[in-house]
């Protein structure tokens, strides 16, 4: 049997992954969720037909969105994860003994259920005693918090779909308010290569640039992302992602990684000319 699932990266380019069988399919209030067993990527989860993560490459995303800010901020006690119902981000955070509390705000209970059933190794992150789960809208939750977090991780799945409210100007302002005066926010910044992705990339940078004093973008190679190339935003009230990165302190923790190193941390902020140019054009 020739059984494939495809994601359109643009109208004119797609990636296809061979499927052994479909393991799960359901429509929640927010999204259609499907899970496939595949020979190349292990289990693959899609939301409305877009690949959200796979067993084989989720480590890149989860390590890069967690360890980069954690290697910069010297004293993270309280963390807010917006989205993150799969538990991968909470799992990486759980390796840090100094973290006292992690709030995970995920609106979609069915998403959490599906991940717990099929990705128990990620979902175990949500069972850490320091995690509080809130099945709520991220933006509403944020509005009720002030000066509460050292780190906010925006791990929502779909910037342009049901989670679009998480990429408004108000959202960045609310994050700024919810952070302590030396807090850091990291977020998915999309893929800069294809024209249609470039636009949302520009809009996000413009909004973050106007809301935070320190804004940098960093990169990773994630095979199942559009063009295999994904950016993260680093918006910060005090700490600089390169100058304040403390490699010695981070290495002392002896966290086992497959992608992140403190050396790669530096390189991840060294961007291609075309990406630097498009970001600079929004810094007005």
């Amino acid at each position: 049997m020739d059984f494939w699932v495809s994601e359109m990266h643009t109208n004119n380019v797609k990636i296809s992954i061979r499927v052994e069988q479909q393991l799960f399919s359901a429509q929640s209030e927010f999204q259609r969720i499907d899970i496939f067993e595949t020979p190349e990527f292990g289990k693959v989860l899609t939301s409305n037909g877009n690949i959200i993560f796979t067993e084989q490459d989720e480590f890149i995303y989860d390590e890069m969105i967690v360890h980069v800010p954690m290697a910069v901020h010297p004293r993270v006690r309280n963390v807010l994860v917006i989205g993150g119902g799969d538990g991968g981000v909470a799992r990486e955070l759980s390796y840090y003994g100094e973290i006292e509390h992690i709030d995970v705000v995920e609106p979609d209970q069915l998403f959490v259920y599906a991940c717990r059933e099929h990705f128990p190794e990620d979902a175990n992150g949500l069972d850490d005693a320091r995690v509080s789960m809130y099945y709520e809208d991220g933006l509403k939750f944020l509005r009720s918090r002030q000066d509460a977090y050292d780190l906010i991780i925006n791990d929502c799945t779909d910037p342009l779909g049901h989670a679009a409210g998480l990429f408004t100007k108000e959202f960045y302002g609310s994050c700024f308010q919810a952070l302590h005066e030396d807090g850091i926010m990291v977020y998915q910044h999309g893929s800069p290569f294809y024209d249609e992705d470039e636009d949302s990339c520009r809009i996000m940078h413009r909004k973050a640039y106007r809301s935070f004093p320190i804004n940098r973008v960093y990169q990773a190679h994630i095979p199942t992302c559009p063009a295999g190339y994904w950016l993260f935003g680093f918006a910060s009230r005090k700490y600089h992602p390169i100058k304040d990165m403390d490699a010695k302190r981070w290495k002392k923790r002896e966290i086992k990684t497959s992608y992140y190193t403190t050396n790669l941390h530096m390189g991840a902020f060294m961007l291609p000319r075309y990406v630097e140019d498009l970001l600079e054009e929004e810094e007005v």
Copy 2:
């Protein structure tokens, strides 16, 4: 009409690009060459069904394989390009006034013909007065040269097909001999993500490691490569790719780039943990 060309990145994952029309198709002594007009990537050239380059992303490959060694070696006069019949590498080299001579050794005349017809902007690089074309086998050509070049660029299209001789131990030894005592060789190192690509990546590094005193690998995001992630090998008799990179000297030349910067140069050598690990395992 729904008209697509697909490349199998492995048996279980493929990329597909929408096609407007096929512009060229021919079988040479060495390979089947096809050229497609596409809305996303402009013109796309394939060899035996594998994408070799596209108008939209060739700049990444050509800039990274040329400017990295050129920013390290202080006095490049003589360059050998193995493969490179499309002219993209020669075009980037032509921006350096100090280069006196460029030998391009491409066995496939039909490949050069097809590129001249359909990618004249790249192929113009071959018209530089300093370029000598040789329609010969790269390995045979190399055997006849000793202490002749400052820089060798292995730009051959297909490490595992007709150009397999260019990835043998003998090849690295012949390159070492053909270089001056401070010469540099750069080469395509493949994509490290998928299991079947990882193997050839390991073999190449092992061979280069045993032939040259200085060996480093550097990376770029190339959307149409497997997993969007491509590695280059930097094998050198004297100069170190980071310690001997002279950003001030390179910037003085005012070469216009879309991907390469001297800052990105540094970052390109800062590799993910899983890539560092697989390379280290071959350094025995």
